[in-house]
């Protein structure tokens, strides 16, 4: 049996990175790493040696992360969706056409992943989103959780979910255009 210190030594950074990518808050991510390892120690006898230790730990961590989302979701209801979103609405004129077209840029995910600065920029853009929008985006576009499951977990309607995801993606696209693609001509942007 692995001792707790070895478990932390071997998987601590990996678990922390995973938690931080989902929760975007260092303190909360550190707490979740701790809760995950404590739960792992408790359920150690149930560890199925056919799966890797890391897969097993990530499985436990995903439950802890879902618990966190559920908890914060109860604490902060999704009322901000009832008001118009200036960041989106302001980009269209009174007949619903773009006030200014999105800039011309494109890139391949496999190329972008090599750019460490892009990861930082994306993290920064996610941090700028209102918490709830970042949560639904993370669950849907990173975790690939089915829409119905997100609605159930967060206690929101499908209409609310679709509207939040639209707002999140719209704002992220703008933020990346401004902070990355617009500044990196020759690195995947033609602007």
């Amino acid at each position: 049996m692995t001792d707790p210190a070895a478990l932390l030594e071997e998987h601590g950074d990996y678990l922390y990175r995973f938690a931080l990518s989902r929760l975007r808050n260092e303190d909360v991510a550190q707490d979740v790493v701790q809760e995950t390892l404590l739960a792992a120690l408790k359920s150690r006898p149930n560890f199925d040696a056919r799966s890797s230790e890391r897969t097993w730990l990530i499985g436990i961590m995903k439950h802890k992360i879902a618990d966190h989302y559920r908890k914060t979701s109860r604490e902060t209801p999704m009322s901000d969706l009832e008001s118009p979103d200036e960041a989106v609405d302001g980009r269209f004129n009174f007949v619903g056409h773009w006030r200014g077209s999105p800039a011309e840029w494109s890139a391949a995910p496999d190329t972008l992943v090599q750019e460490k600065d892009f990861h930082r920029t994306l993290r920064g853009c996610l941090d700028k989103l209102p918490g709830k929008l970042a949560d639904v985006f993370t669950l849907r576009d990173m975790e690939e959780m089915p829409s119905e499951e997100i609605c159930e977990k967060l206690g929101i309607t499908p209409t609310n979910l679709y509207a939040s995801l639209h707002r999140a993606r719209f704002r992220l696209r703008e933020c990346l255009e401004y902070n990355w693609f617009g500044k990196t001509a020759g690195k995947g942007s033609s602007r």
Binding site: D3, P4, A5, L7, L8, G12, D13, L15, Y16, R17, F18, L20, S21, E26, Q30, V33, Q34, L37, L38, L41, K42, D89, F92, V95, G96, H97, W98, S101, P102, A103, E104, W105, S106, A107, P109, L112, V113, K116, H119, L122, R123, F137, T138, R140, D141, M142, E143, E144, S147, P158, L161, Y162, A163, L165, H166, R169, F170, L172, R173, E177
Partner: protein, 84 residues
């Protein structure tokens, strides 16, 4: 014709639910004729594809801070000794 504002909403929703045949027809038609929404759709798709494939790695250069490591280690040891 569908407005750009409506079209970009459906571009996003298409990633989360199956659009009705009528919605799909209208949004495809709009995008064929609108270079701005054409670009928007490609870029949203890129963002989605990147996050699905590499979302787990956006914090790869980050390390668990030493003080958190010490704190967690102490909590694990304390839980372990209680168990014994």
């Amino acid at each position: 014709m569908m407005t750009c504002e409506k079209a970009v909403g459906l571009v996003s929703e298409a990633l989360d639910r199956e659009l009705t045949p009528s919605e799909l027809k209208k949004v495809r038609w709009h995008i064929r004729l609108c270079p701005a929404c054409f670009k928007y759709e490609k870029q949203i798709q890129l963002l989605h594809d990147f996050c699905v494939k590499y979302g787990d790695h956006i914090c790869d250069e980050v390390e668990l801070p030493e003080e958190a490591r010490t704190r967690i280690k102490a909590a694990l040891e304390s839980a372990g000794s209680r168990k014994e």
